[in-house]
């Protein structure tokens, strides 16, 4: 008996309905899919026999919008792609643009340090959201409150520096939007001091929790071969034993000056990914401490060349050149010489890459994103076969997809 699935917003080929097999849509609105993911699962009792994730429910046409905005405006939409670490998106895009412009060597050291600081802080904040919501999937509600409170302190730093909690638009071409405000470093010291005890509590709460261990050990095992074949990167790849980290392989924005190590495990199951991300948060804080020491010395926070970076506001009313540069940048932005470049960055979910093409105009010709979440999520098709539905929930949480990035 074959049941024809009606053609609707998703199309599934006709599913052979054997005696006790049932098609279940773990649909776009589901408490444990971490966003708008639909998985058409064919189940036999509680065992998943075929899982085909359907994405596109958050497709925002960001790459098309970016093609119709100026080079400096495009980061507005690009930051809204991976909304758990927007600054990493902005940094990756601007590094690519600066490479095309050929000014990537002139970025002042303080700007690079602040960029590294903000990206490591957003890595911690992003892992806090993963740990919180992942814990809720397994019933650990207290972890959610602990992690979101730590994230709240980090968002205060983004709000103090960039002006907004999530999409501060603080990283710009040639450096930063403005210098760090006064009082920022004291707040940063507060966060650094608070991190250690808070993470010790979270680890004591979750790491050796027998329930979490039973639910995560030997669930969603990925071998190193599969990880490479399915193009997994980030904590998902490092949990299978391969220590590929873009910050170490292709250092950018001054990462070679900081020493941190790349945590890896070998089991490749959900618990290994859990431990890798926890260790990664500690490494990120280690970098933040090293950058903190460098931030005491003031310095230029933007390249001096005002053809790309708008001149300071107060000089506009004083000098004609500043006014002209300001007006030109605001009204029609700068032109980027024709060419294409691929710039990778180590995002919280893996290698986030931008393949930016310019044809010499003042708008990007093409901004192709390499979305780590999409490739990490795709492996669900393979590892969910033969597992319980409850384990598939744990797998989704351990792959940490962000659907703004998956669907772009």
């Amino acid at each position: 008996m074959t049941t024809a699935i009606p053609e609707s917003s998703y199309s599934v080929d006709v599913v052979e309905r054997s005696a006790n097999r049932m098609v279940l849509s773990m649909g776009p609105q589901h408490p444990s899919t971490h966003g708008v993911l639909q998985i058409i699962t064919e189940i036999e009792g509680e065992i998943v026999t075929k899982a085909s994730p359907e994405i596109g429910y958050l497709h925002t046409g960001i790459e098309k919008s970016a093609e119709n905005l100026f080079w400096s405006q495009a980061s507005t939409v690009i930051e809204r792609m991976d909304y758990l670490s927007p600054l990493t998106n902005a940094l990756c895009y601007y590094l690519a643009v600066e490479k095309l412009l050929g000014i990537d060597a002139q970025i002042p050291p303080r700007a690079q340090q602040v960029r590294v600081l903000l990206c490591e802080l957003s890595r911690i904040a992003s892992h806090c959201v993963w740990l919180g919501t992942g814990g809720i999937d397994l019933g650990a509600l207290t972890g959610f409150f602990y992690c979101f409170d730590l994230r709240e302190r980090i968002l205060d730093l983004f709000e103090a520096s960039g002006g907004a909690r999530m999409h501060p638009n603080y990283i710009r071409v040639g450096g930063l939007g403005r210098d760090l405000p006064s009082g920022f470093l004291e707040k940063l010291d507060g966060v650094i001091a608070m991190y250690e005890p808070r993470m010790r509590d979270v680890r004591r709460l979750l790491q050796k929790n027998p329930i979490l261990q039973d639910r995560m050990i030997d669930v969603g095992i990925i071998s190193a071969d599969d990880a490479l074949a399915w193009s997994l990167t980030g904590p998902t790849l490092r949990a299978t034993g391969i220590p590929y980290d873009v910050r170490r392989a292709f250092p950018y924005s001054g990462y070679e000056e900081y020493e941190f190590d790349v945590p890896t495990r070998t089991e490749g199951d959900a618990y290994a990914r859990f431990l890798v991300r926890l260790d990664e948060m500690d490494e990120a804080m280690r970098i933040v401490r090293q950058v903190r020491k460098k931030l005491d010395t003031p310095g230029a926070w933007q390249i001096a060349d005002t053809k790309f970076a708008p001149p300071p506001k107060e000089t506009i009313a004083l000098s004609m050149e500043a006014l002209i540069h300001h007006f030109k940048l605001v009204s029609e932005s700068f032109r980027v010489p024709p060419g294409d470049v691929y710039q990778p960055v180590e995002g919280p979910r893996g290698e986030l890459g931008y393949y930016v093409v310019s044809n010499g105009d003042n708008r990007p010709w093409r901004v192709r994103t390499r979305p780590p979440s999409m490739y990490n999520l795709q492996v669900l098709k393979k590892i969910a076969i033969g597992e319980l539905i409850a384990d598939m929930v744990v797998m989704i949480g351990s792959l940490d997809p962000v659907f703004g990035e998956v669907d772009r």
């Binding site: 917003s9 649909g27 776009p28 609105q29 589901h30 408490p31 966003g35 708008v36 596109g56 429910y57 958050l58 497709h59 925002t60 046409g61 960001i62 098309k64 919008s65 119709n68 507005t76 939409v77 809204r80 909304y83 758990l84 959201v129 919180g132 919501t133 959610f144 409150f145 979101f148 409170d149 994230r151 709240e152 909690r165 999530m166 999409h167 659907f403 703004g404 669907d407």
Partner: protein, 160 residues
């Protein structure tokens, strides 16, 4: 029920009590779309604590939810889904359109985004911001409670 003013007094009191009960436990639907969903989750976290308004119980099924918070941009593929979820919610129901993307398409004026969720479902409160701060969402839930108390959609006895 041709009761004199006495009857009205009885009905208005029952209505007032019903509306007070309804407004103090407005249960939202678990439907997180994009960045605003993260701020919605932060609103349930201890710093902003939506539990003070009685709305911390996020129901997974539309059958048990009174409030739909459209938190994020609605893609073309998600439009019919949001419409179906709204229809499947039990009456009386309210809608908060959280953020610029849900209210008007926001920064994404392109082919992929529904330019304002009020083109597909009736919206009661619009929250500005991209994303709005959790305080903005708490204030929106407050406005919904005031609407309920003033009988915006009618109390338990109203036939609206």
């Amino acid at each position: 029920m041709a009761l004199g003013s006495g009857g009205d007094f009885l009905l208005t009191t029952v209505d007032a009590v019903a509306r007070w009960a309804q407004s103090s436990s407005v249960w939202p639907l678990t439907m997180g779309l994009a960045c605003c969903a993260i701020e919605m989750m932060t609103a349930t976290a201890p710093e902003y604590d939506i539990a003070r308004l009685g709305s911390e119980v996020f129901r997974a099924s539309p059958r048990q939810a009174d409030l739909m918070i459209v938190s994020g941009r609605v893609a073309q593929k998600m439009g019919p889904i949001v419409k179906r979820l709204y229809d499947q919610m039990a009456d009386p129901k309210w809608v908060i359109s959280m953020g610029a993307c849900a209210s008007s398409g926001g920064v994404f004026d392109n082919y992929a985004i529904v330019q304002g969720v009020d083109t597909i479902i009736p919206v009661d409160v619009y929250v500005p911001g991209c994303p709005p701060t959790p305080d903005g969402l708490l204030y929106a839930v407050n406005l919904i409670q005031q609407q309920i108390k003033q009988g915006g959609r009618g109390g338990i006895l109203a036939r609206a």
